[in-house]
């Protein structure tokens, strides 16, 4: 029963990721795609937590931290590129 509920929750997260994938493909502007990709990363974190409950292992919990950090840094890079046109600003020349 508990495992059935967990699989149902995993299915809901996968449906949410599919809808967000639609938004990140057809999104009219670039910030739409950035927000959709950030939310996809957050949903993948939740899905990893559910999978590690179902398999009753704690080996996947590092992946949660790594994905959180990667989603945050990726979103910051996207937003800086959208706002300024460059990611790494070099002072001085250019």
């Amino acid at each position: 029963m508990k495992e059935t509920i967990l699989l149902l929750a995993l299915t809901f997260f996968m449906i949410a990721i599919g809808l967000l994938l639609y938004r990140s493909i057809v999104g009219p502007t670039m910030p739409d795609r950035a927000i959709a990709l950030d939310t996809i990363g957050v949903n993948i974190i939740s899905a990893i937590a559910i999978v590690s409950i179902i398999l009753s292992t704690t080996a996947f919990l590092e992946a949660i931290l790594i994905l959180g950090i990667l989603a945050f840094i990726g979103t910051i890079a996207f937003s800086k590129y959208i706002e300024r046109g460059v990611i790494v600003e070099r002072k001085g020349d250019s």
């Binding site: 509920i5 929750a9 997260f13 502007t29 910030p31 950035a34 949660i64």
Partner: protein, 134 residues
């Protein structure tokens, strides 16, 4: 019969189910809302809530079922809770400065004459906004 362990495991599992339902609502908001700003409202707030509920459920489940207090899950909860609103704010700020237009039927845009001023805005809208805010 249910003992305390069973009850806490059920609380964890139902918290995960609630998180998945909140995430579905967030995804439907991302599909149906009209422009970037309302979509970032849907994506940021409710998906932060969803991942908090899901990771808290996983933490309670591992604590009760295995007796394993996972510091990594606590770190993940704190990190996501700090960084998700920050990234939503950054993307929305970049979208406004990259001149993504607001949806039809949005209210009065008070930031536009302050930020862009005289450049590239149509003079009727600018005069209208300035009149309202003086």
């Amino acid at each position: 019969m249910l003992n305390v362990k069973e009850i806490l495991e059920w609380i964890a599992v139902l918290s995960v189910l609630l998180a998945s339902i909140i995430s579905m609502i967030s995804a439907f908001g991302m599909i149906r809302l009209p422009d970037v700003y309302t979509r970032s409202h849907a994506a940021t707030k409710s998906s932060t809530m969803a991942v908090l509920a899901c990771l808290s459920g996983a933490f309670i489940y591992f604590w009760v079922h295995d007796g394993y207090v996972s510091v990594r899950l606590i770190l993940g909860i704190v990190f996501v809770f700090i960084t998700a609103p920050v990234s939503g704010h950054l993307v929305t700020r970049a979208a406004y400065r990259a001149r993504v237009p607001l949806a039809e039927g949005s209210g009065d845009d008070a930031l536009k004459p302050v930020l862009f001023g005289d450049e590239q805005t149509s003079p009727t809208i600018t005069a209208d906004n300035v009149d309202k805010h003086e």
